[in-house]
Amino acid sequence: MSAEREGAVARSAERRCFMSGRRMIALVVAALFLVLPLLSIVPEFWVALLDYIGIGALIAVGLVLLTGVGGMTSFGQAAFVGFGAYTTGVLTTHYGVSPWLALPAAVIVTGVAALILGSFTVRLSGHYLPLGTIAWGISAFYVFGNLQILGGHDGITNIPPLSLGGHALTGVRPYWVVVWVAVILAVIATQNLLDSRLGRAIRALRQGAVAAESFGVEIARTKLIVFVFAAVLAGIAGWLYAHFQRSLGASAFGVSGGIDYLLMAVMGGTGQVYGALIGAGLVTVLRDVLQDWLPHLFGASGNYEDLAFGILLIAILQGAREGLWPMIARLFPAPKPRAVIAEVPTPAVQAAAKSTGPLLTLDTVRKRFGGLVAVNGVSFTVGTGEIVALIGPNGAGKSTLFNAVTGIAPADEGRVLLGDAPIQGDSPQNIARRGIGRTFQHVKLIPELTVLENVALGAHLHSRAGLVEAVLRLDRAEERKLFAAAAAQLKRVGMADNMHRTAGQLALGQMRVVEIARALCLNPSLLLLDEPAAGLRLKEKQALAEVLRGLRAEGMSVLVVEHDMDFVMGLADRIVVLDFGEKIAEGAPAVVRANPAVIEAYLGGVA
């Protein structure tokens, strides 16, 4: 990319600080959307339906973030709607509190409930998590239905309406504005959140939790933030629901309610914020239509629309698992690439840990998986500014050793030192903090994010912005710096031309190089590369070797696992050979190449 073009992109970034034409149009459309239903040309019936769609959308937006983006499928979201609704119901009817004052109370109660339920839910793995949400979803329903203060199975009636300046917002039209202002704010907040440091961590949860951990993301904490955020949106929806419906019963907050909300998210497309609006709209309209004519068909009353919803859910999973939004999104032009400020000096290699000895020391490291000893008492060192290659046949224990050093799967015995500090048993996050960056044998990039965003995840520890800053967009200056640093590292590894493509579009070899850029973004003193040259063409391998030599010249230490012998022999200062979990040779490339034990391990002994 030419400097001229970069300059142009930077200038357009400045322009975007003011109101662009596109944003103006969006505002006008939003204003029209809010005002139009106030006029009597739109029938009251439709406005009421739109009110319900808005309330559903609020919940579905949170569920999209939780399920589609964060990978936590919840069937219990209706419980949080209940927490919000019952809080305001009790406060306004029993204690005469104003609904507006009950709103913060509803948010707090829902948030605290979510913190408690989330504290264990986010730790559940795989399918245990959705099953857990069913368990507490059902429990919440029984608690709502049996607590006397919540009116038991009769529920709460005569909830006062919202009022503004002495005017009660009783009709469907005034309520329309309240609901949709809330929805628009929720969508903006969610979009802002997704496009932030925290958002990238959230998006890494579903597909690359291990990678995220290796760059300092606290997985459980990040999951809990998403969980509470989604719950609070549901709680606010519950508050709106209570004052719109004016009466409450536990049946709305059980697991079947939770399934309905999940259907909204799945229908629109679980990864798509706007999909939540489409899903909420379709489910709500469909329910209304079906409630009208299905009972006639069956000749009795009942929740017959659930039949259609069940069938619809299965049909979507079978026919369009991505949901409907991606089909709609194709009609719109692709978003413009992110602006990156042009010149940022590539950060110097971090001063190595204070020690006169080697940078990394492995001392009789052992790792066992059940009865299999994967690594058996391996010792070696990596000096400052040294490239050490770790080679050995498949199953020799190379990746296991990597995972032991980076804290993903700590060693059972032995010591791992960075400088003089022991790091065995430390969390991956802390080890990243100490300046060890890594890549993965099986590439762990987030395919939907751009290359630049993926690389920026590597700088997670060099920035601070949290939930509040992200939602309110107070993180823009920090974000610009982050992306500039990410762009600089991409340039260093020769991937600057690809930074605005999504990672999923790259070839495997390119992905590996992007992973190196991401690791460099951590600004490490030690780089662990797991098969970086696999899938690269000859020219690309040479370029990669050149980059690594440059890093070494700057004082970076590199430990590389690689099968490509030409690559390793030409690059490494020293080679360590593993076989069946044990070190069988160590030394300069020429020495190792001539070692009979190494030749036997690779080619097999003469029978």
Binding site: G302, F309, I311
Partner: protein
């Protein structure tokens, strides 16, 4: 709390536990073979119980019509999906098995039920009516998703549950039913009275579980199913048809569900939507065994039964809350034991 009450609560707990154990075993079986978390298992229980009670009372059971409807849907969908490799023989086979047989059964039941046939006939009719539903539903909802993730299959299972519950309301109506006991009478033992029905429940469930054990350990077919459970690709490579094993697992689960339904129909009043809670308790038990260990699942089932019996005595309103929140520590423990290094997808 006096010993008589404790004894009778334990008795209740064991009877409930026996039912949950049957369900838990079926759930583990289906999960192992197909990776489906079979939430609709409860509907099979409820539908069987209601059909059994209805036949006893001389009514045409709702399942008769439901089975015909499911057969037609399964047949139609299969013919559409397999339209490129249809032969006359295949079409005829589908039409006979999926449509003709359920229709014949429908008329047979409609003719027999008003005569209020004996217990044995009622049991056989109920099993015949409910058992084919599992394979039908597998073909309708799950076969096209055979390669999907556990999560997608779980959401689909909930979709099936939702639809079946509504169909249950349509075919059975909102009234509850309770069947006559399989055997009247009781015996007195150590100061408490044990109903013959309770002994039947525990006895039959033990026999069924023993039968499953023999099936999986001693028969080639059972071993083939176990092979699919261990490694789907490997099983496919040695020529075990995955599709058929899925149907078989579903058929076994439905039969077990139907037996459970017949066993509890005389014990408690059941409604069209009672199955959900019953099957979820089977799940609590199955999860105790990590959805993979049959023995732990059975132990968990008796645990759930006992907890439920005592919770019902102390705090009947919050009985369900106690039972379902108990699963939380189990889930957390299971999650901690699951591998920390993530699987390659």
């Amino acid at each position: 709390m006096d010993p008589i009450i404790i004894l009778s609560l334990v008795q209740d707990g064991l009877v409930n536990g026996a039912i949950y154990a049957l369900l838990a075993v079926a759930l583990v079986l289906v999960f192992a073979v197909t990776r489906v978390i079979l939430i609709p298992q409860g509907e099979f229980v409820a539908f069987a119980a209601l059909s059994f009670a209805q036949i006893q009372q001389g009514l045409k059971p709702g399942t008769a019509g439901l089975l015909v409807a499911l057969g037609i849907i399964a047949c139609a969908l299969d013919l559409i999906r397999d339209r490129r490799m249809l032969t006359i023989k295949l079409i005829a086979r589908r039409l006979i098995l999926d449509i003709a047989l359920p229709v014949i059964l429908y008329f047979a039941v409609a003719w027999l039920a008003p005569k209020q046939p004996g217990m044995a006939v009622a049991i056989i009719l109920t099993l015949l009516l409910v058992a084919p539903m599992g394979p039908f539903l597998y073909r309708i909802a799950f076969r096209p998703l055979a390669d999907a993730s556990i999560l997608v299959l779980l959401i689909a299972a909930l979709g099936v549950h939702l639809a079946l519950t509504v169909l249950g309301l349509g075919y059975f109506g909102p009234e509850g039913f309770r069947a006559d006991p399989l055997i009247d009478g009781s015996i007195e033992l150590g100061g408490t009275v044990i109903q013959a029905q309770q002994i039947i429940v525990v006895g039959v469930s033990l026999v069924v579980m023993l039968g499953l054990y023999v099936f999986f350990e001693r028969t080639l077919y059972g071993k083939a199913l176990r092979a699919v459970a261990v490694n789907r690709t490997g099983a496919r490579l040695v020529g075990i048809p995955i599709n058929l094993s899925g149907q078989t697992a579903f058929a076994l689960a439905t039969v077990i569900g139907a037996i459970s339904g017949i066993l509890i129909a005389p014990v408690t009043m059941l409604y069209y939507d009672s199955g959900f809670l019953i099957s979820l308790k089977g799940f609590v038990a199955a999860i105790t065994g990590g959805l993979s260990n049959y023995l732990l699942a059975v132990a968990g089932a008796f645990g759930v039964g006992l907890v439920q019996a005592f919770a019902a005595f102390w705090t009947s309103n919050y009985m369900e809350v106690v039972v379902f929140m108990l699963i939380v520590p189990v889930l957390v423990l299971r999650s901690l034991r699951a591998s920390t290094v993530e699987d390659e997808e």
